[in-house]
Symmetry: C2
Subunit: 205 residues, 2 copies
Protein backbone atom coordinates (compact mmCIF):
# COMPACT_ATOMS: atom_id res chain seq x y z
CA UNK A 1 0.00 0.00 0.00
CA UNK A 2 1.26 3.42 -0.96
CA UNK A 3 0.01 6.65 0.61
CA UNK A 4 0.21 9.98 -1.12
CA UNK A 5 -0.24 13.61 -0.04
CA UNK A 6 -0.75 15.94 -3.00
CA UNK A 7 0.01 19.60 -2.46
CA UNK A 8 -0.08 22.46 -4.91
CA UNK A 9 3.48 21.97 -6.11
CA UNK A 10 4.69 18.65 -4.70
CA UNK A 11 3.79 15.03 -4.13
CA UNK A 12 4.69 13.28 -0.89
CA UNK A 13 4.73 9.49 -1.17
CA UNK A 14 4.84 7.12 1.83
CA UNK A 15 5.55 3.40 1.59
CA UNK A 16 6.75 1.08 4.38
CA UNK A 17 7.76 4.00 6.57
CA UNK A 18 9.78 5.65 3.80
CA UNK A 19 8.92 9.04 2.36
CA UNK A 20 9.72 10.41 -1.08
CA UNK A 21 8.97 13.97 -2.05
CA UNK A 22 8.64 14.75 -5.74
CA UNK A 23 7.82 17.81 -7.79
CA UNK A 24 4.24 17.62 -9.06
CA UNK A 25 5.36 18.68 -12.55
CA UNK A 26 7.60 15.65 -12.92
CA UNK A 27 5.19 13.16 -11.40
CA UNK A 28 3.16 10.80 -13.59
CA UNK A 29 0.24 9.16 -11.66
CA UNK A 30 0.30 6.37 -14.27
CA UNK A 31 3.78 5.36 -13.13
CA UNK A 32 2.20 3.70 -10.06
CA UNK A 33 0.27 0.52 -10.79
CA UNK A 34 -0.55 -0.71 -7.27
CA UNK A 35 -3.30 0.60 -4.94
CA UNK A 36 -2.53 4.08 -3.75
CA UNK A 37 -4.53 6.10 -1.19
CA UNK A 38 -4.28 9.84 -1.42
CA UNK A 39 -5.38 13.19 -0.08
CA UNK A 40 -5.14 16.18 -2.36
CA UNK A 41 -5.64 19.93 -2.11
CA UNK A 42 -5.00 20.23 -5.82
CA UNK A 43 -8.11 20.34 -8.05
CA UNK A 44 -6.03 20.13 -11.23
CA UNK A 45 -4.32 16.95 -10.07
CA UNK A 46 -7.68 15.45 -9.04
CA UNK A 47 -8.85 15.74 -12.65
CA UNK A 48 -5.67 14.15 -13.97
CA UNK A 49 -6.20 10.97 -11.90
CA UNK A 50 -9.88 10.45 -12.77
CA UNK A 51 -8.89 7.67 -15.16
CA UNK A 52 -6.59 5.82 -12.76
CA UNK A 53 -8.76 3.32 -10.81
CA UNK A 54 -5.90 2.33 -8.48
CA UNK A 55 -5.88 5.90 -7.01
CA UNK A 56 -8.28 6.06 -4.02
CA UNK A 57 -9.38 9.41 -2.62
CA UNK A 58 -9.46 9.28 1.19
CA UNK A 59 -11.92 12.17 1.20
CA UNK A 60 -14.59 9.53 0.67
CA UNK A 61 -13.75 7.74 3.93
CA UNK A 62 -14.00 10.84 6.11
CA UNK A 63 -16.90 11.18 8.53
CA UNK A 64 -17.66 14.81 7.63
CA UNK A 65 -20.07 15.21 10.56
CA UNK A 66 -17.01 15.19 12.81
CA UNK A 67 -15.35 18.13 11.05
CA UNK A 68 -16.54 21.14 9.03
CA UNK A 69 -17.02 21.37 5.26
CA UNK A 70 -14.26 23.89 4.43
CA UNK A 71 -11.69 22.29 6.73
CA UNK A 72 -8.46 21.43 4.92
CA UNK A 73 -8.10 17.73 4.17
CA UNK A 74 -4.56 17.69 5.58
CA UNK A 75 -5.85 19.08 8.90
CA UNK A 76 -8.44 16.33 9.05
CA UNK A 77 -5.79 13.69 8.39
CA UNK A 78 -3.49 14.83 11.21
CA UNK A 79 -6.54 14.89 13.52
CA UNK A 80 -7.39 11.32 12.53
CA UNK A 81 -3.91 10.31 13.74
CA UNK A 82 -4.48 11.47 17.32
CA UNK A 83 -7.07 10.20 19.81
CA UNK A 84 -6.59 12.96 22.39
CA UNK A 85 -4.27 15.91 22.02
CA UNK A 86 -3.49 19.20 20.35
CA UNK A 87 -2.17 18.83 16.82
CA UNK A 88 0.03 21.65 15.56
CA UNK A 89 0.81 21.55 11.85
CA UNK A 90 3.45 24.20 11.22
CA UNK A 91 3.72 25.09 7.54
CA UNK A 92 2.88 28.26 5.62
CA UNK A 93 0.00 28.47 8.09
CA UNK A 94 0.07 26.94 11.56
CA UNK A 95 -3.10 24.96 12.14
CA UNK A 96 -3.95 24.02 15.70
CA UNK A 97 -6.62 21.39 16.27
CA UNK A 98 -7.92 19.74 19.39
CA UNK A 99 -9.02 16.10 19.62
CA UNK A 100 -10.64 14.61 22.73
CA UNK A 101 -11.45 10.89 22.82
CA UNK A 102 -11.44 10.73 19.03
CA UNK A 103 -13.90 13.65 18.77
CA UNK A 104 -12.88 16.84 16.99
CA UNK A 105 -13.19 19.77 19.43
CA UNK A 106 -12.37 22.58 16.98
CA UNK A 107 -9.23 24.51 16.26
CA UNK A 108 -7.73 27.64 14.83
CA UNK A 109 -5.35 28.86 12.15
CA UNK A 110 -2.35 31.07 12.85
CA UNK A 111 0.07 32.41 10.27
CA UNK A 112 3.16 30.32 9.55
CA UNK A 113 6.58 31.44 10.77
CA UNK A 114 7.76 32.67 7.38
CA UNK A 115 4.36 34.16 6.51
CA UNK A 116 4.33 36.16 9.74
CA UNK A 117 7.91 37.32 9.26
CA UNK A 118 7.06 38.51 5.74
CA UNK A 119 3.96 40.32 7.00
CA UNK A 120 6.07 42.26 9.53
CA UNK A 121 8.58 43.10 6.80
CA UNK A 122 5.84 44.37 4.52
CA UNK A 123 4.62 46.67 7.29
CA UNK A 124 7.83 48.65 7.67
CA UNK A 125 11.51 48.39 6.70
CA UNK A 126 12.24 48.75 10.43
CA UNK A 127 10.41 45.45 11.04
CA UNK A 128 11.94 43.62 8.09
CA UNK A 129 14.15 41.22 10.03
CA UNK A 130 14.46 37.56 10.94
CA UNK A 131 12.94 36.12 14.07
CA UNK A 132 15.33 35.30 16.88
CA UNK A 133 14.62 31.66 17.65
CA UNK A 134 16.96 31.80 20.65
CA UNK A 135 14.68 34.27 22.43
CA UNK A 136 13.17 33.56 25.84
CA UNK A 137 9.42 33.77 25.23
CA UNK A 138 8.72 34.20 28.93
CA UNK A 139 10.36 37.62 28.90
CA UNK A 140 9.14 40.87 27.42
CA UNK A 141 11.48 42.03 24.65
CA UNK A 142 13.85 44.99 24.62
CA UNK A 143 15.03 44.96 21.01
CA UNK A 144 13.22 44.76 17.68
CA UNK A 145 13.95 41.15 16.53
CA UNK A 146 12.98 39.86 19.98
CA UNK A 147 9.87 42.09 20.02
CA UNK A 148 8.69 40.52 16.75
CA UNK A 149 9.54 36.95 17.77
CA UNK A 150 7.92 37.27 21.19
CA UNK A 151 5.00 39.15 19.62
CA UNK A 152 4.28 36.34 17.23
CA UNK A 153 5.35 33.24 19.16
CA UNK A 154 4.73 33.90 22.85
CA UNK A 155 0.93 34.31 22.54
CA UNK A 156 0.67 31.31 20.22
CA UNK A 157 2.79 28.92 22.29
CA UNK A 158 1.16 30.08 25.53
CA UNK A 159 -2.32 29.53 24.07
CA UNK A 160 -1.46 26.05 22.75
CA UNK A 161 0.05 24.99 26.09
CA UNK A 162 -3.00 26.31 27.94
CA UNK A 163 -5.20 23.81 26.10
CA UNK A 164 -3.85 21.26 28.57
CA UNK A 165 -3.53 18.26 26.26
CA UNK A 166 -0.52 16.36 24.87
CA UNK A 167 0.98 18.36 22.01
CA UNK A 168 1.88 16.80 18.65
CA UNK A 169 3.84 18.94 16.21
CA UNK A 170 4.15 18.19 12.52
CA UNK A 171 4.85 20.05 9.27
CA UNK A 172 7.93 21.71 7.80
CA UNK A 173 8.60 23.93 10.82
CA UNK A 174 7.84 21.22 13.40
CA UNK A 175 11.36 20.96 14.81
CA UNK A 176 11.86 24.73 14.94
CA UNK A 177 8.53 25.33 16.67
CA UNK A 178 8.72 22.37 19.03
CA UNK A 179 11.66 23.78 20.93
CA UNK A 180 9.36 26.40 22.45
CA UNK A 181 7.04 23.86 24.05
CA UNK A 182 7.98 22.48 27.43
CA UNK A 183 6.81 19.09 26.15
CA UNK A 184 5.75 18.05 22.66
CA UNK A 185 6.00 15.07 20.33
CA UNK A 186 7.46 15.93 16.92
CA UNK A 187 6.02 13.56 14.33
CA UNK A 188 6.64 14.44 10.72
CA UNK A 189 4.63 11.43 9.51
CA UNK A 190 1.43 12.36 11.35
CA UNK A 191 -0.55 12.91 8.15
CA UNK A 192 0.32 9.39 6.93
CA UNK A 193 -0.51 7.88 10.33
CA UNK A 194 -3.93 9.54 10.09
CA UNK A 195 -4.38 8.16 6.59
CA UNK A 196 -3.52 4.63 7.74
CA UNK A 197 -5.96 4.85 10.69
CA UNK A 198 -8.70 6.11 8.38
CA UNK A 199 -8.11 3.29 5.89
CA UNK A 200 -8.17 0.70 8.71
CA UNK A 201 -11.44 2.15 10.01
CA UNK A 202 -12.90 2.26 6.51
CA UNK A 203 -12.01 -1.37 5.90
CA UNK A 204 -13.50 -2.38 9.26
CA UNK A 205 -16.85 -0.66 8.56
CA UNK B 1 0.72 74.65 23.89
CA UNK B 2 0.08 72.52 20.84
CA UNK B 3 1.10 68.88 20.57
CA UNK B 4 1.71 67.13 17.30
CA UNK B 5 2.15 63.52 16.21
CA UNK B 6 3.69 63.25 12.73
CA UNK B 7 3.13 60.01 10.86
CA UNK B 8 4.17 59.04 7.37
CA UNK B 9 1.06 60.45 5.70
CA UNK B 10 -0.79 62.46 8.35
CA UNK B 11 -0.40 65.03 11.10
CA UNK B 12 -2.34 64.72 14.33
CA UNK B 13 -2.63 67.99 16.27
CA UNK B 14 -3.80 68.23 19.89
CA UNK B 15 -4.74 71.49 21.62
CA UNK B 16 -6.89 71.92 24.74
CA UNK B 17 -8.21 68.37 24.51
CA UNK B 18 -9.21 68.77 20.85
CA UNK B 19 -7.66 66.71 18.06
CA UNK B 20 -7.35 67.65 14.40
CA UNK B 21 -6.04 65.19 11.83
CA UNK B 22 -4.60 66.63 8.63
CA UNK B 23 -2.97 65.21 5.54
CA UNK B 24 0.78 65.73 5.67
CA UNK B 25 0.82 66.96 2.07
CA UNK B 26 -1.49 69.84 2.85
CA UNK B 27 0.15 70.80 6.13
CA UNK B 28 2.50 73.80 6.34
CA UNK B 29 4.58 73.81 9.59
CA UNK B 30 5.03 77.58 9.12
CA UNK B 31 1.29 78.05 9.61
CA UNK B 32 1.76 77.55 13.37
CA UNK B 33 3.53 80.38 15.15
CA UNK B 34 3.21 79.32 18.80
CA UNK B 35 5.31 76.69 20.63
CA UNK B 36 4.55 73.22 19.36
CA UNK B 37 5.90 69.95 20.76
CA UNK B 38 6.07 67.01 18.40
CA UNK B 39 7.04 63.41 17.87
CA UNK B 40 7.73 62.27 14.33
CA UNK B 41 8.47 59.01 12.54
CA UNK B 42 8.94 60.93 9.31
CA UNK B 43 12.54 61.82 8.41
CA UNK B 44 11.45 63.96 5.47
CA UNK B 45 9.19 66.09 7.69
CA UNK B 46 11.97 66.42 10.27
CA UNK B 47 14.14 68.14 7.67
CA UNK B 48 11.32 70.45 6.65
CA UNK B 49 10.94 71.84 10.19
CA UNK B 50 14.65 72.43 10.86
CA UNK B 51 14.16 76.14 10.32
CA UNK B 52 11.11 76.52 12.57
CA UNK B 53 12.41 77.28 16.10
CA UNK B 54 8.94 77.01 17.66
CA UNK B 55 8.81 73.27 16.77
CA UNK B 56 10.29 71.22 19.67
CA UNK B 57 11.24 67.60 19.16
CA UNK B 58 10.22 65.53 22.22
CA UNK B 59 12.82 62.94 21.29
CA UNK B 60 15.29 65.16 23.14
CA UNK B 61 13.41 64.85 26.44
CA UNK B 62 13.30 61.05 26.43
CA UNK B 63 15.42 59.16 28.95
CA UNK B 64 16.73 56.62 26.42
CA UNK B 65 18.24 54.43 29.13
CA UNK B 66 14.67 53.44 30.02
CA UNK B 67 13.86 52.18 26.52
CA UNK B 68 15.82 50.73 23.59
CA UNK B 69 17.39 52.62 20.68
CA UNK B 70 15.22 51.27 17.83
CA UNK B 71 11.98 51.52 19.79
CA UNK B 72 9.33 53.55 17.96
CA UNK B 73 8.84 57.04 19.37
CA UNK B 74 5.06 56.56 19.48
CA UNK B 75 5.48 53.44 21.63
CA UNK B 76 7.66 55.39 24.03
CA UNK B 77 5.08 58.16 24.26
CA UNK B 78 2.20 55.85 25.15
CA UNK B 79 4.45 54.20 27.76
CA UNK B 80 5.22 57.61 29.27
CA UNK B 81 1.47 58.09 29.78
CA UNK B 82 1.12 55.06 32.06
CA UNK B 83 2.79 54.46 35.43
CA UNK B 84 1.84 50.78 35.75
CA UNK B 85 -0.01 48.79 33.13
CA UNK B 86 0.02 47.08 29.77
CA UNK B 87 -0.29 49.51 26.87
CA UNK B 88 -1.77 48.08 23.68
CA UNK B 89 -1.47 50.34 20.64
CA UNK B 90 -3.57 48.77 17.90
CA UNK B 91 -2.71 50.13 14.48
CA UNK B 92 -1.08 48.55 11.42
CA UNK B 93 0.99 46.72 14.04
CA UNK B 94 -0.21 46.01 17.58
CA UNK B 95 2.48 47.02 20.03
CA UNK B 96 2.20 45.71 23.57
CA UNK B 97 4.34 47.33 26.26
CA UNK B 98 4.56 46.80 29.98
CA UNK B 99 5.22 49.55 32.50
CA UNK B 100 5.75 48.87 36.20
CA UNK B 101 6.16 51.82 38.61
CA UNK B 102 7.22 54.08 35.76
CA UNK B 103 9.89 51.61 34.63
CA UNK B 104 9.70 50.07 31.14
CA UNK B 105 9.59 46.28 31.47
CA UNK B 106 9.75 45.42 27.76
CA UNK B 107 7.13 44.54 25.22
CA UNK B 108 6.38 42.90 21.92
CA UNK B 109 4.98 43.62 18.48
CA UNK B 110 2.11 41.68 16.92
CA UNK B 111 0.65 42.25 13.49
CA UNK B 112 -2.27 44.65 13.24
CA UNK B 113 -5.78 43.34 12.58
CA UNK B 114 -5.86 44.36 8.92
CA UNK B 115 -2.22 43.33 8.38
CA UNK B 116 -2.92 39.86 9.77
CA UNK B 117 -6.10 39.50 7.73
CA UNK B 118 -4.19 40.44 4.57
CA UNK B 119 -1.43 37.96 5.39
CA UNK B 120 -3.97 35.13 5.67
CA UNK B 121 -5.52 36.21 2.36
CA UNK B 122 -2.16 36.20 0.64
CA UNK B 123 -1.56 32.64 1.85
CA UNK B 124 -4.56 31.09 0.13
CA UNK B 125 -7.82 32.18 -1.53
CA UNK B 126 -9.54 29.85 0.96
CA UNK B 127 -8.26 32.05 3.81
CA UNK B 128 -9.07 35.35 2.12
CA UNK B 129 -11.93 36.43 4.35
CA UNK B 130 -12.80 38.95 7.03
CA UNK B 131 -12.37 38.22 10.71
CA UNK B 132 -15.54 37.53 12.67
CA UNK B 133 -15.41 40.02 15.52
CA UNK B 134 -18.47 38.42 17.11
CA UNK B 135 -16.57 35.18 17.74
CA UNK B 136 -16.14 33.72 21.21
CA UNK B 137 -12.38 33.54 21.69
CA UNK B 138 -12.71 31.04 24.51
CA UNK B 139 -13.98 28.40 22.09
CA UNK B 140 -12.10 26.46 19.46
CA UNK B 141 -13.44 27.28 15.99
CA UNK B 142 -15.43 25.08 13.63
CA UNK B 143 -15.53 27.25 10.51
CA UNK B 144 -12.89 29.13 8.56
CA UNK B 145 -13.59 32.79 9.49
CA UNK B 146 -13.74 31.84 13.17
CA UNK B 147 -10.59 29.70 12.82
CA UNK B 148 -8.67 32.73 11.50
CA UNK B 149 -10.11 35.16 14.06
CA UNK B 150 -9.50 32.81 16.98
CA UNK B 151 -6.08 31.91 15.53
CA UNK B 152 -4.97 35.49 15.46
CA UNK B 153 -6.81 37.04 18.41
CA UNK B 154 -7.21 34.36 21.07
CA UNK B 155 -3.47 33.84 21.68
CA UNK B 156 -2.83 37.60 21.65
CA UNK B 157 -5.67 38.58 24.01
CA UNK B 158 -4.91 35.66 26.33
CA UNK B 159 -1.22 36.62 26.49
CA UNK B 160 -1.98 40.29 27.19
CA UNK B 161 -4.47 39.42 29.94
CA UNK B 162 -1.96 37.01 31.49
CA UNK B 163 0.43 39.90 32.08
CA UNK B 164 -1.78 40.72 35.08
CA UNK B 165 -1.71 44.50 34.89
CA UNK B 166 -4.34 47.14 34.03
CA UNK B 167 -4.79 47.23 30.26
CA UNK B 168 -4.84 50.50 28.28
CA UNK B 169 -5.83 50.28 24.63
CA UNK B 170 -5.14 53.02 22.10
CA UNK B 171 -4.72 53.39 18.33
CA UNK B 172 -7.12 53.15 15.39
CA UNK B 173 -8.41 49.67 16.29
CA UNK B 174 -8.66 50.36 20.03
CA UNK B 175 -12.44 50.11 20.29
CA UNK B 176 -12.61 46.99 18.11
CA UNK B 177 -9.87 45.21 20.05
CA UNK B 178 -10.98 46.33 23.51
CA UNK B 179 -14.23 44.35 23.37
CA UNK B 180 -12.20 41.15 23.70
CA UNK B 181 -10.66 42.13 27.04
CA UNK B 182 -12.65 41.44 30.18
CA UNK B 183 -11.47 44.84 31.41
CA UNK B 184 -9.55 47.57 29.59
CA UNK B 185 -9.40 51.34 29.39
CA UNK B 186 -9.74 52.69 25.86
CA UNK B 187 -7.86 55.96 25.58
CA UNK B 188 -7.36 57.35 22.12
CA UNK B 189 -5.37 60.32 23.45
CA UNK B 190 -2.77 58.23 25.25
CA UNK B 191 0.08 59.42 23.02
CA UNK B 192 -0.73 63.06 23.84
CA UNK B 193 -1.04 62.32 27.55
CA UNK B 194 2.45 60.79 27.39
CA UNK B 195 3.74 63.86 25.59
CA UNK B 196 2.27 66.19 28.24
CA UNK B 197 3.78 64.12 31.08
CA UNK B 198 7.16 64.15 29.37
CA UNK B 199 7.05 67.92 28.87
CA UNK B 200 6.08 68.45 32.52
CA UNK B 201 8.95 66.21 33.67
CA UNK B 202 11.35 68.00 31.31
CA UNK B 203 10.33 71.39 32.62
CA UNK B 204 10.69 70.20 36.23
CA UNK B 205 14.27 68.92 35.72
Amino acid sequence: MILCDIGNTSVDLFRDGQRIKLSLDEFDPGSIDVDIYYVSVNAFFNERIQNHPNWHDLRELIDWDKYYPTMGIDRIMVCEAVETGVIVDAGSAITVDVMGGGIYQGGFIALGLRTAQEAYGRLSPALNMSFNFEVDLAKMAKNTPDALTVGFLAPLIFKIESLGKPIYVTGGDAVLLSRFFSEAVVDEDLIFKGMIKLIEKGVKC
